[in-house]
Every structure is written in structure tokens, then in C-alpha cells.
């Protein structure tokens, strides 16, 4: 028997109404069989609400099965009297880095678990030193967690679990709230523990790139295991994964598309190196059809004559005049004309959040001027409240601002602040809700009872209902599964097309930017480093990496192919474009070496 084993595991939960009456039982997990061997690296995938978190909580005895059995290290969780003894064996790391750190000093937090286990003081210190070393956090031991980045906080949480000397660590979406640098950090730490210490790792995620190095992958759907196997086996089922609201890494998708087009690419490509290797060996005489080349998208027009919003020499200093003064923005010059779809990228702390708050006058620049349609927005008589309804801003996790009893009233909040009557506001609200795809029957539900994706939509509708001409979105898709991510971004793109709204999309995902934005602004250390079309910016992929960013995966693949002598267009930023240029490359080769009917020799 493995370290974690489940047999016919089922779990029901109940919803309670205001009077405390239980609803019909809702099945969150059903008929799950698992047998995880010690030392394995397991990944569990699944869309939001697929039951993967509920399953994870069973592996730590935080939940006990309604049906079936769960064994942790050979012991039935339902039989055990002192559950904390089981929890010591299978530690757990949660999604929100802030909400799982108990102490105000890193080392004390790591010591929290051993303290609970009743370990003698000297041994606690030994364990804390050891755990901090293994997670690479020794240098931060006396820091306050509030001063750490998201990735570092998660490493502290992992160290805290390690200090209990578990045999297995369950990580429940540990990277969902992190930026790419933090995600890498956490994943590396987990892999390191798995390889060096032989700790069994169970990683729950919906980032496909994190799954590649797992020994086995389980894909959950509506409470049960829908797919399982090695990453290669799972990723070769591209269509099935899409049905399950997931996606595959770009290299896998590109490989799949090329295979469909007729190139001899094997199923289940996992990495960029693999795909490049395969393509190198491909004979350049394939019977493939390239398909019509869609018309080139117009590069964005810099309508410099009359930008809607214009920043010139904007500087911002946090805590000015104190010892903690930080220059957050450094001489920013940006013009935003009407109708653009702008992507903005930069790692955490690059100043992008500060910048977008300048755009609708939530923060006043320390120096420099911001003008909207020619007027200085910090002019003495300027109506900044009116400005904010022209320039809508939805913060990261906009669902955290919902407060009304029902969805419709919440969305009405903005329009009513603009001075509309309730009826007029409701009309606007309904329009906005339709535009983001919230169904009519949801309008009178409490916003707090909606799913994560629905909440986000309602919150975005709350901004949209004010009819802004510029819409700024700070990572609107954080925490959503791939399908939810695509849905929201598609809807935003549609708004941009149909209503002509100018969109500023702050994102960590270069892939998303490449797909949607016509202009990309890259921020680093408070400065605008690049401001150009995504294609041109991605040419600087090496510089982007130095800033802790990266170009889309296809960019790397194309550069690699170019180096191998293939004549591909290295500016392609999306899978679709990459496929076309690779195929055309092979097709051209075919024309150059006339087909002699297979009698070359």
C-alpha cells in the first residue's frame, strides 16, 4: 500500500440556508481510487469546482470521507482518534500565501508545526534550521512575512510543513496567486524536496507547465478522476483536456496542430526542446497544406495627434520624505489613443499597479502631468469623479469589492454614483451583465454565492456599467482555470471590438498578451522599458528574461528553429501564427526540392 491510498472515496457537503436547514447533499468527490507510492511526484489537474481541493483536504484528514476509505500511511482516517498525528505525515500548503502564515517572523512560523507536536525546544531549532535551508529561505529567517514576495511566502509555508518531517506534502494550488517568477520558485522548491529528500509531492494546479515533470497526472472532473497517466499520456489528449476546461502547454498545442496538419510529430510533446528536436529531424518534403494566410493585422496606429490619455514625465515616490521612500514610477511618458487594446506586463513590484492607479486619478503623481482629452486631471477645478466614470478600473481580484445583497444592485452601485435613477442604473447594469455573460437568472442571487469566475464577471460588469471609454483591468483572470481565463478574455476582446472601448490589460501571461493586445508596454523598476507591438517586444526575449519575464513559449521554439536553419518568421507570437510559419517553411522547402515521385535515390 502506498503512502496515500483512496478507495471508492466519496464526499458530500451540505449548504445551509438562513434558518440552518441543510440542503440536499452535494457530491463534491465521488468514486475516487488513488494509490500513491512514497517518493512519487503527483500532479492533480482540474478546472475550478472539479473537486480537486476537496480531494486534497482528504489527504490531510482535514475532511473525512462520506463514503469509501482514505488511508494515510496505512491508517484509515476515519478510525484515527488523534487526527493531528496523521496530519503530521501528510503536510499541506494552501493557495493564499498570507492566510497560512501564523507568526510575524519567518523562523517562528516555521517552528509553529513542531511546537504543536510537542518537540523539545533544541530539536525545534534544529528542524527549523534544516527546513529553512532545504527551501532556501535561511537568509530571510528573521524577516517579517509581510516583507516577502508571494513566492517566498509559499516557500516559508513549505518550510513550515517540512519542519514537521512529513512523508508527503500536498500543495493545493500553491501557485495560483503568484507571478511567473514566484511560480517557478515554488515549483523548484517542491521538486528539490522530492528529489533530494524523497518526499512524496502531490501538486494541485491548473497551470499545465507545472505538470510536465510529474511522475503521474490525475485529471479531475465533477468529483471523479477523468484522466490519469504520465504527463505524456495525458497531454496527448488535447481535445479531451479542452473538454475538461483545461489546456496544454504551447509546445504541446503547437505539436498537436502540426501533427494535425500532416507533419510527423508524435503525440504528447511536452517541452520546447522536444518539439524542436522532432522538427529538426522532419523531412522537409511533407504533403501539407498551408491554408490561406489571413490578412495581416494592422500594426497599431499611434494616433499621436489627439491621445485620449497622456502621461508626461510622471514620477511617483512612495512614502516621500521618509527613510522608506521608494521611487515607484520613474519618468513615465505614455500616450493612450482611443480604441487601442494595450497589454501591460512587468513582474510584481515593477510599478505597473501604481501606474494604472495614476490613469484614473486614484494616485496623484509626485511630479509630471497627466492629461485626459487635453485637460490636466490634477487641475484645480477638474472633476475627477467624472473622470473615473470615463476611465474604469477593475483591480486584481475585483470580486473582493462585491458588497450588495444581489448581483443587480451591486452592478448598479457605479451608475447610481454617477447620478442615474435606479431604473436607468438597472438598464445599464443589465446591459453590462449581458456583455460579460452573466445569465438573467443570476441577477437576484447573492454575489457571494456565485462561483469564482461568475464573481469576477459581476465585478467587471460593475465597472463596465458606468460606460467607461477606457477600461483598465488588473489581471482579471487571476485564479481562474484555463477555460474561464479564455472566456473572460474573449469577452473583453469582444467589448473592445464592438463597443470600441480602449482596453488596458495588465497580465502576467505573455501568451494572453500576444493573443489579444496590439500594443505592449513592459514595465521594469518603475520605468517603461518597451512600448511597441508585442511582436517587436518579443524580439527582445533575452532582455525580458533578465527582468524576470519571458516571451511566449512559441517565440522560443521559433528562435530555436531559426538557429537550426529553418526559415521561420520569428515574430509570430501565437500558436496559430507559429503553426503557419512553420508549415509554410516546410511547404517552401518542398517546392525547392521538386517532388520526383519518391524516386530520389
Amino acid at each position: 500500500m502506498g503512502i496515500i491510498k483512496a478507495l471508492k472515496l466519496g464526499f458530500d457537503y451540505f449548504k445551509y440556508d438562513d434558518d440552518g436547514n441543510a440542503s440536499e447533499p452535494q457530491r463534491a468527490v465521488k468514486d475516487v481510487d488513488l494509490d500513491i507510492e512514497e517518493g512519487e511526484f503527483i500532479a492533480i489537474l482540474g478546472h475550478n469546482g472539479s473537486g480537486k481541493s476537496t480531494l486534497a483536504k482528504h489527504m490531510n484528514a482535514l475532511l473525512l470521507p462520506t463514503e469509501g476509505t482514505m488511508w494515510i500511511d496505512g491508517r484509515d482516517t476515519k478510525e484515527e482518534k488523534e487526527l493531528w498525528k496523521l496530519r503530521q505525515k501528510a503536510g499541506m500548503v494552501f493557495q493564499n500565501p498570507d492566510n497560512q502564515i501564523i507568526a510575524s517572523v519567518v523562523e517562528e512560523d516555521v517552528g509553529f508545526g513542531p511546537e504543536n507536536l510537542g518537540i523539545p525546544t533544541e530539536k525545534i531549532w534544529k528542524r527549523v534550521d534544516e527546513s529553512l535551508r532545504k527551501t532556501g529561505m535561511t537568509a530571510y529567517r528573521s524577516h517579517s512575512p509581510n516583507r516577502l514576495s508571494g513566492g517566498q511566502k509559499q516557500r516559508v509555508a513549505i518550510a513550515g510543513v517540512m519542519a514537521m518531517r512529513p512523508r508527503c506534502i500536498v500543495l493545493d494550488e500553491p501557485t495560483a496567486m503568484l507571478d511567473p517568477v514566484g511560480r517557478r520558485e515554488v515549483l523548484e522548491a517542491a521538486l528539490e524536496l522530492n528529489r533530494q529528500e524523497g518526499v512524496t509531492i502531490i501538486l494541485i494546479t491548473h497551470y499545465m507547465e507545472e505538470v510536465i515533470r510529474a511522475d503521474r497526472v490525475f485529471v479531475m472532473d465533477s468529483g471523479s478522476v477523468a484522466l490519469s497517466g504520465t504527463p505524456r499520456e495525458v497531454f496527448s489528449q488535447v481535445e479531451r483536456l479542452k473538454e475538461l476546461r483545461l489546456d496544454v502547454p504551447q509546445a504541446t498545442l503547437l505539436g498537436y496542430e502540426l501533427r494535425k496538419a500532416g507533419l510527423p510529430v508524435p503525440k504528447g510533446i511536452l517541452s520546447r526542446e522536444e518539439l524542436v528536436e522532432v522538427l529538426k529531424k522532419c523531412e522537409r518534403r511533407q504533403r501539407i497544406s498551408v491554408g490561406p494566410v489571413p490578412e495581416e493585422q494592422n500594426p497599431f496606429s499611434r494616433n499621436e495627434a489627439s491621445p485620449a490619455l497622456s502621461l508626461s514625465h510622471v514620477n511617483y515616490i512612495y512614502s516621500a520624505g521618509t527613510a522608506f521612500a521608494v521611487k515607484a514610477l520613474d519618468d513615465i511618458n505614455i500616450d493612450i489613443p482611443d480604441g487601442q487594446f494595450i497589454g501591460m506586463i512587468g513582474h510584481t513590484g515593477s510599478g505597473k499597479s501604481t501606474l494604472i492607479q495614476h490613469l484614473n486619478a486614484l494616485i496623484r503623481p509626485s511630479s509630471g502631468t497627466i492629461t485626459y482629452r487635453g485637460e490636466d486631471i490634477w487641475g484645480e477645478k477638474y472633476d475627477r469623479k467624472a473622470l473615473r466614470s470615463e476611465i474604469g478600473l477593475a483591480f486584481q481580484y475585483p470580486e473582493h469589492q462585491l458588497f450588495e445583497n444581489d448581483v443587480l444592485s451591486d452592478v448598479c452601485f457605479g451608475p447610481m454614483n454617477q447620478g442615474l435613477t435606479r431604473e436607468e442604473a438597472e438598464a445599464e447594469a443589465k446591459k453590462a451583465l449581458h456583455q460579460v455573460g452573466v445569465k438573467e437568472k443570476r441577477f437576484l442571487d447573492s454575489p457571494f454565492e456565485l462561483s469564482g469566475g461568475q464573481k469576477k464577471r459581476v465585478a467587471i460588469a460593475g465597472v463596465l456599467a458606468m460606460n467607461p471609454r477606457i477600461l483598465i483591468l488588473d489581471e482579471p483572470t487571476a485564479g481562474l482555470d484555463p477555460h474561464g481565463r479564455d472566456e473572460i478574455l474573449d469577452q473583453i476582446a469582444e467589448l473592445h471590438r464592438e463597443r470600441g472601448i480602449t482596453v488596458v490589460l495588465v497580465s502576467h501571461s505573455m501568451e494572453d498578451i500576444a493573443k489579444y493586445a496590439e500594443r505592449l508596454i513592459v514595465m521594469n523598476e518603475g520605468k517603461v522599458v518597451y512600448d511597441d507591438t508585442p511582436k517587436k517586444v518579443f524580439m527582445h526575449y533575452k532582455e525580458l528574461e533578465e527582468m524576470g519575464l519571458s516571451a511566449p513559449q512559441v517565440t522560443y521554439i521559433l528562435h530555436d528553429l531559426k538557429e537550426c536553419g529553418l526559415d521561420v518568421d520569428i515574430t509570430a507570437g501565437t500558436v496559430e501564427e507559429a503553426k503557419r510559419t512553420i508549415l509554410s517553411c516546410f511547404a517552401v522547402s518542398r517546392e525547392n526540392t521538386p517532388d520526383t515521385g519518391g524516386e530520389v535515390s
Binding site: V105, E115, R147, S319, K385, R388, S389, G392, H400, Q401
Partner: protein, 267 residues
């Protein structure tokens, strides 16, 4: 940035005062507060000043930071001093319209001011040299006897340290929600008191929801890390007295004796 606000005002350092046991520092502060009320003459205040000055230089905390701690009470200080001066009956020194400044009033005001300032500096010195966590630990240990009468001392101190950790996080969150609502046209400043209170709903509801969500998450995380109450729990940093603490207690005893003697002999 709001993140930088630490609750309490710990000033990192490695001085003798920093390294004392928090219980010693708690007792020390108590003794000092008592002494300030025992002294009532200039030589007495001089003694208190010498003691406080010695402690401050021992702590190696810059004077600027010490003085900064007085800043928040300056308004109250001036206010009470003013009222003491004009409402204390006695020999009138000078008079503007109906306001009379009396000699007794000025003396009383001066005394109150010195006491208040010394109180603030004295307790700040403790919070500047002690992390909030050490402070909660110190309180927990000092109050442990209350366990016998079923006061859940461990639980209370656990709650205090969790509160200390989450206050900055919730403050940052409040700031963010506020900005998000301002972006939706909310106005947190206009209107009368009732209107203002009503305007706070879009801020308070999400903040409470978030606080509950965090509490829920944290409870789960604590459970996952085997927390099961204060029993059988060991401590990573248990409080232990060192030789320094013994010296400190001797100094405190001498100082207290001096203060009592001053009182007895009416110096």
C-alpha cells in the same frame, strides 16, 4: 506603503535592553510608571530623568525616534495643560479677559506634562525594544496563574499574536477596497455623519467578508499544521531569565526603593 507599518513600533537592535526578557521589561515599565507618580519634586523628577536617560542610552535607540513617540499625545498634552492652568484656583499670575492663569495651575500643568511625557516615553521604550510577539509571550507567561481560574491565557495570547500579524494585511486590503469603490464613483467624504456611515458599507462589507475568509483559511492551515490547543505544546523560544535579567531586577528594586524614600521623606 501600508505594509511597512508594524503594529507596535519595534526598533530592531541588539542592545542589553533588547535582550532582556519581556517579563523583566514589563515589570520595569510598571516600576517606572509607579515611580513617576511617587515623585513630585524637582529632585525626584531629576532621578526619574536620570533613570530614563540611562535606559534610553542603553537601548541605543536614536533620540529622534524616542521623541517621535511623544508626537501623538502632544495635542492632548497641550489641551490638558491649558485647562489645568486656567481652572486650578490659586494665586493669579496674569489674566486675559476672564481667563486666569494661576501659579498653582502652572505647577500642576507642568507636573502633569512631565508625568504624561515620561509615561509615554517609558512605555514606548518597552515597545521599541520588544517585538509584539515577545510582548504577547511575556504577557502570557506573566498571566499564566490566571489559568487556574479558567482564563484561557494561551488562547488569548494566540489571538493577540494572530491579530498582530493580520492587522497590516487587513489595512492594506481596506485601502485596496476603498480605491476600488472610489473607482466606481463612491465618495467616502461627503455628507453628514449618517450619510458617511452609510457610505462606508461598500468598504466594510467586503472587508468583513475578507476577514472571515482569511480566518477560515487560517484555521484550516493551523489545523493542517497539527494545532490542537495549548496543551502538550512546546515552545521554540521559551522565555528564560538570564543573568542580565537578575541585574535588571536589582536595579529596578533599588530605583523603586529610591522612589519610595523620596515619597516618604517628601523630597
Amino acid at each position: 506603503m501600508i505594509k511597512d507599518i508594524t503594529i507596535g513600533q519595534y526598533y530592531p537592535g541588539k542592545s542589553h535592553l533588547h535582550r532582556l526578557d519581556p517579563r523583566t521589561k514589563l515589570s520595569g515599565t510598571l516600576v517606572f510608571i509607579i515611580s513617576v507618580f511617587l515623585f513630585s519634586t524637582i529632585p525626584g523628577y531629576l532621578a526619574a530623568t536620570v533613570f530614563l536617560g540611562a535606559m534610553i542610552s542603553l537601548s541605543r535607540i536614536p533620540w529622534k525616534i524616542i521623541l517621535k513617540s511623544v508626537k501623538p499625545v502632544i495635542v492632548i498634552l497641550l489641551f490638558t495643560a491649558f485647562f489645568n492652568m486656567i481652572f486650578t484656583p490659586g494665586e493669579v499670575l496674569w489674566q486675559i479677559w476672564v481667563i486666569k492663569f494661576t501659579k498653582e495651575g502652572i505647577i500642576l500643568a507642568g507636573r502633569m506634562a512631565i508625568r504624561l511625557i515620561y509615561l509615554v516615553i517609558g512605555s514606548s521604550l518597552m515597545t521599541l525594544t520588544t517585538t509584539p510577539n515577545q510582548l504577547t509571550d511575556g504577557l502570557e507567561r506573566s498571566l499564566r496563574p490566571l489559568n487556574k481560574i479558567h482564563v484561557p491565557v494561551h488562547e488569548i495570547s494566540m489571538m493577540m499574536s494572530i491579530a498582530l500579524r493580520f492587522i497590516p494585511i487587513l489595512m492594506e486590503e481596506a485601502d485596496k477596497i476603498m480605491k476600488a469603490q472610489i473607482a466606481r464613483g463612491a465618495d467616502f467624504e461627503k455628507g453628514n455623519i449618517i450619510q458617511k456611515a452609510k457610505n462606508m458599507i461598500p468598504l466594510l462589507v467586503p472587508l468583513f467578508v475578507s476577514a472571515f475568509r482569511r480566518a477560515n483559511d487560517l484555521a484550516l492551515a493551523m489545523e493542517a499544521r497539527c494545532y490542537h490547543g495549548g496543551e502538550h505544546r512546546t515552545q521554540m523560544k521559551p522565555l528564560t531569565y538570564h543573568s542580565n535579567d537578575a541585574i535588571a531586577y536589582v536595579i529596578l528594586a533599588v530605583y523603586l526603593a529610591v522612589a519610595v524614600l523620596f515619597k516618604v521623606f517628601g523630597l
